[in-house]
């Protein structure tokens, strides 16, 4: 099975050269982005065992920092990333110091409420465009260097594709490096037996904070990538509870704490929802749209035209419930049992 990760990475590298259409490339870019987000979440949630439903906060820090500096001063994300990481670290410490004293439900709920509080502030903050959000001005690059400075590529998705791939591989490498280091062992000790770890002299607060800061930093970088890719940042798709839960769910779907768990989750869930959304909104036909005959596809077509939409979220919610009900240890946990 050792060749499988290598084969997967090679396939990812070759994929956009084979599938040259924008939509198939977009789906994998989003899958890579969410795989990176899930892996970053996994550093805190999987290794250190601190389940956060508030990671969209750091995603939002990255997205809004990028958008605001570019819009206000024309500064590229290439130079504003240290600012974003500084804000993200400050936010992580501000969130972690009080909440890491809590355990179980209290910690998770605290992350939920901090997320909600941030959402309320951001969606009322005039400088950040309030509920409408910020649009990054579209720039027509004069050359390759100019395009790189503005990080705007309109002719091809390839720069974004390989950017997302690099972000994904970097996050994956960071996760594996931490997991194998002494730090990773301390994180696992925190997760498994916090009191025992503490009694052996492990500074639990310091290590939880460290796990959060690293996890938040990669999440912030993902947010920066997202803003640059979509060129539009608003609260619902960046700093909301739904995004937070999606990040956590993607990590948990594959199996918490496992290196490839979030990747599996992202590559199942993101294509599923993206395809369904595109199909239901009529952007792709699957050769069946418009038919009024019988069958599941025709029924779906009919419902999509007549119903109020959101079938993708409907199925997504159902999927979460079913996984939690039948496979609470995640899909990779299931495969592990078979070994």
């Amino acid at each position: 099975m050792k060749w499988l990760p290598v084969a997967f990475l090679v396939a990812l590298a070759v994929y956009p050269l084979v599938f040259t259409q924008p939509f198939p490339q977009h789906v994998v870019i989003m899958a890579l982005l969410f795989a990176a987000l899930g892996t970053a979440w996994n550093i805190l949630g999987g290794l250190a065992g601190q389940v956060s439903f508030g990671h969209a906060l750091y995603f939002g820090v990255g997205a809004y920092t990028t958008a605001w500096f570019y819009k206000a001063f024309g500064l590229s994300a290439l130079v504003t990333w240290p600012v974003a990481l500084a804000i993200s670290t400050l936010a992580a410490v501000a969130v972690g110091l009080p909440t890491f004293r809590l355990r179980g439900h209290y910690f998770v709920l605290a992350s939920v409420f901090i997320m909600q509080a941030v959402y309320i502030v951001v969606s009322n903050w005039g400088a950040l465009g309030a509920a409408i959000g910020l649009e990054l001005p579209v720039h027509r690059p004069t050359g390759a260097l100019d395009a790189l400075w503005h990080l705007q590529f309109h002719l091809s998705k390839l720069p974004f594709y390989y950017g997302a791939l690099a972000l994904f591989v970097a996050t994956l490498a960071a996760f594996e490096w931490i997991r194998r280091s002494r730090l990773g062992l301390l994180f696992v000790a925190l997760r498994e037996e916090e009191d025992a770890a503490r009694s052996l002299g492990v500074d639990t607060m310091r290590h939880k904070l460290l796990a959060l800061i690293v996890s938040a930093a990669f999440t912030t970088l993902c947010g920066m990538f997202y803003a640059q890719y979509v060129l539009y940042v608003e609260p619902v798709s960046t700093t909301s509870l739904t995004i937070s839960v999606e990040i956590a769910f993607i990590a948990i779907f594959g199996g918490v704490g496992l290196l490839w768990g979030p990747t599996l989750g992202a590559f199942v869930i993101i294509p599923l929802t993206e395809l369904l959304r595109a199909y239901l909104s009529g952007h792709i036909g699957l050769g069946l749209s418009g038919t009024r005959g019988s069958g599941i596809m025709a029924t779906l077509n009919y419902l999509a035209a007549g119903g109020g939409g959101q079938v993708d979220i409907l199925l997504y919610g159902l999927l979460i419930v079913l996984i939690a009900r039948f496979q609470p240890r995640g899909v990779l946990g299931f495969f592990r049992k078979l070994d």
Partner: protein, 285 residues
């Protein structure tokens, strides 16, 4: 006078929050499960009352018992199909299951009834009452009174009937309760049924004055979690008082800053409370 008005408004909203929080606390106290979909139960009850009013001309207040009965059955079915399998599962699995339900019911409502806001319009309680310079909005006052009556009925049931005491015994220690001959599985089902029934009543009461949308429940259930945490997880009495406090904080916060910030203070209050008194005002541990 304006402060007295804020106080009155806060209490009126607070009584509704109290009812919502008691339902949440019931499931948490008995099964240790955080039900994120609680607000969506309320939303479903509101649509039920709306359609009873449109279809049969039933007054929403009169359909409150119907909503309670239907939602009771709904709660029991959800327990049988889903919640009972979550008992031994990890906290993460439990939270995802109920959050998945939240997304599912919100999307289902969106799909079936679209995102357009529906309102029930005027009924017998419509109007503004002026009592010595304090204004009372008719439907909200009726809702608060109904919430208080329902809360008292729940207290009576839990503390004065044998079944209610069995439920409390199960919450205290399921193993000992089962040794005493209590069918804990039935008690869990009852807790889900009662929780859904109380939120069903809350939905019926709120349907007379709130615009009904697929997202209407979310602004009730999340603050109600704060009420449950303030009161101490699992304490029904604590949840009641927590709800009152939430109502006051939300109204006062909205009054002194801007209505769009009113929930911010509620969420910040959660952090303050769990840090100062991690087990709430009336928590057991």
């Amino acid at each position: 006078m304006i402060y007295a008005q804020v106080l009155v408004d806060g209490l009126i909203v607070g009584l509704m929050f109290a009812l919502v929080a008691m339902g949440l606390s019931l499931i948490y106290g008995v099964m240790n499960i955080v039900n994120f979909a609680h607000g969506e139960f309320m939303m479903l009850a509101m649509y039920l009352c709306y359609f009873l009013w449109v279809g049969l001309g039933l007054d929403p207040i009169a359909s409150a018992p119907i909503a309670a009965a239907v939602m009771f059955g709904f709660g029991v079915i959800l327990y049988r199909l889903l919640a009972r399998y979550l008992l031994g599962a990890s906290m993460i699995a439990q939270m995802f299951a109920t959050f998945g339900l939240l997304l599912f019911f919100q999307a289902l409502a969106n799909f079936l009834w679209k995102a357009d806001a529906r309102t029930i319009g005027d009924n017998w309680s419509t109007g503004l009452l002026n009592l010595g310079g304090l204004y009372f909005n008719g439907p909200e006052m009726v809702a608060a009174a109904g919430a208080l009556v329902t809360a008292l009925a729940l207290f009576w049931f839990l503390n004065r009937t044998e079944t209610g005491l069995c439920l409390q015994a199960t919450a205290e220690d399921p193993q000992v309760a089962s040794l005493m001959g209590i069918n804990t599985d039935r008690m869990y089902a009852l807790a889900w049924g009662l929780s859904a029934a109380t939120i069903g009543v809350a939905g019926a009461l709120a349907s007379t004055y709130l615009a009904i949308t697929p997202l209407v429940g979310a602004n009730w259930a999340l603050p109600a979690f704060v009420a449950v945490a303030i009161g101490g997880f699992g304490s029904i009495t604590g949840a009641f008082w927590g709800g009152i406090i939430i109502g006051l904080v939300q109204t006062a916060g909205g009054f002194f800053t801007s209505p769009s910030y009113k929930l911010l203070f509620v969420y910040l209050l959660f952090l303050v409370v769990v840090l100062v008194r991690p087990h709430g005002l009336m928590g057991k541990r």
